[in-house]
Symmetry: C2
Subunit: 237 residues, 2 copies
């Protein structure tokens, strides 16, 4: 039965291997249990599906269990901007905390995720010690990421690309994936959009990095061959 399958798939926060970087970080075992009872787990979406949409009322805080997503916002002139790429174990939804979501979150491939629904947050914060604190921490983490991206925009094209790849690699490693080989489910267009570069420039920069034997790229498969050099490029050039 479908129901049974879903039941089998259900994993509580205490058994989820993302615990230490997800919301449970910093909570007591009991707190995690309380959280588990409230969080909607193992939700699934496919490529191009929306987790939430810009303009939606605040829905809640989400955690990606597997797959990747992008956070985008449409500006006044209708142009789309990719604000961030979200990896397994990362949280999203904080852009809605002041009542309406200013971004859309879209699956880049098949995504499993959890939801801490808006309506339960206040209760839960009262019940679970440190949860409020922890949510503030996460929201501050996310603010810092956004600030880091402002700084990145001042770099040269090559530096942006190097820093982007290194950032992904680092975050993947932190989450138990290979830091040197991964699939980047983005088109050149999306990479360019995210980094503030024309698609042609993305193409040329990637070629350049390959010629230097710093990375190897086959379609969307990325391999980092020379970390020291990639780091040097990201900061020196």
């Amino acid at each position: 039965m479908v129901k049974d399958i879903l039941y089998d798939l259900k994993i509580s926060c205490s058994h989820c291997n993302l615990g230490d970087m997800c919301i449970p970080r910093g909570l007591s075992q009991q707190g995690v249990n309380t959280l588990s009872g409230v969080v909607k787990q193992k939700l699934i979406l496919h490529q191009d599906d929306f987790i939430y949409r810009q303009g939606d009322d605040f829905k809640g805080i989400f955690a990606i269990q597997s797959g990747m997503a992008k956070l985008i916002t449409d500006d006044l002139t209708g142009n789309e901007h990719i604000l961030s790429i979200l990896l397994p174990g990362e949280l999203l939804g904080f852009d809605g905390l002041n009542d309406t979501h200013s971004c859309s979150a879209i699956a880049l491939n098949t995504v499993h995720f959890c939801e801490l629904p808006k309506d339960r947050i206040d209760d839960l914060c009262r019940q679970v010690p440190n949860l409020t604190r922890e949510l503030f921490r996460h929201s501050s983490d996310i603010l810092k990421e956004s600030q880091a991206r402002v700084i990145n925009t001042k770099l040269s094209g090559e530096q942006k690309m190097a820093a982007f790849l290194l950032d992904l690699s680092k975050r993947l490693k932190q989450r138990g994936f290979s830091e040197s080989e991964f699939r980047l489910p983005l088109t050149r267009n999306e990479i360019g959009n995210h980094l503030g570069l024309a698609i042609e420039t993305v193409s040329r920069l990637l070629k350049q990095l390959q010629q230097k034997k710093v990375v190897a790229i086959q379609q969307k498969e990325v391999q980092i061959l020379d970390f020291p050099e990639l780091k040097r490029i990201a900061v020196d050039d």
Copy 2:
């Protein structure tokens, strides 16, 4: 006596004219009173003084009562980046919510400000209904500002400058100041740093806007002469 003067200067949150955009926003009268008892009020700093420093343990949330400040961060290579300009009635400190401040906040001129000290926040959130919610809202507001700046970095120099002036003008207006005439206590260098432009480019862009009779600038005094045109430049060009 100095003490008497300080006493006279002391203004509770309920009597502060910034209430509706500051922390009290959304709190009951009683909540505001409780808040007032905890907030350190009418602190004063002068140009170039630090409100807090990058690397400091989280100190608390601050509100600017008068004057302006800048939020900066030093990157790995020691370069300073101006992340935002803070006006009266605006909040800062959210970059420290995950334990250490990732930015320094520096007074651009004489600044009066209030402090909600870190140690009291948890208590206060338990005592004052909606305060947690309200802090989340503010933190989300600030995240959105940061995201908006990421988008701004994709604009042309002239657009950046126009958007920057319009943004300041709008925020000043919201806070009861003139939207068309104000003093911008930043050097060309700081403007350039903030917008990601070379100082010479800032100079040329400002000249250009003056030649078009869109703004008039005398040293640090800014006058906006033609809002429609400035808006057109910010989005169209």
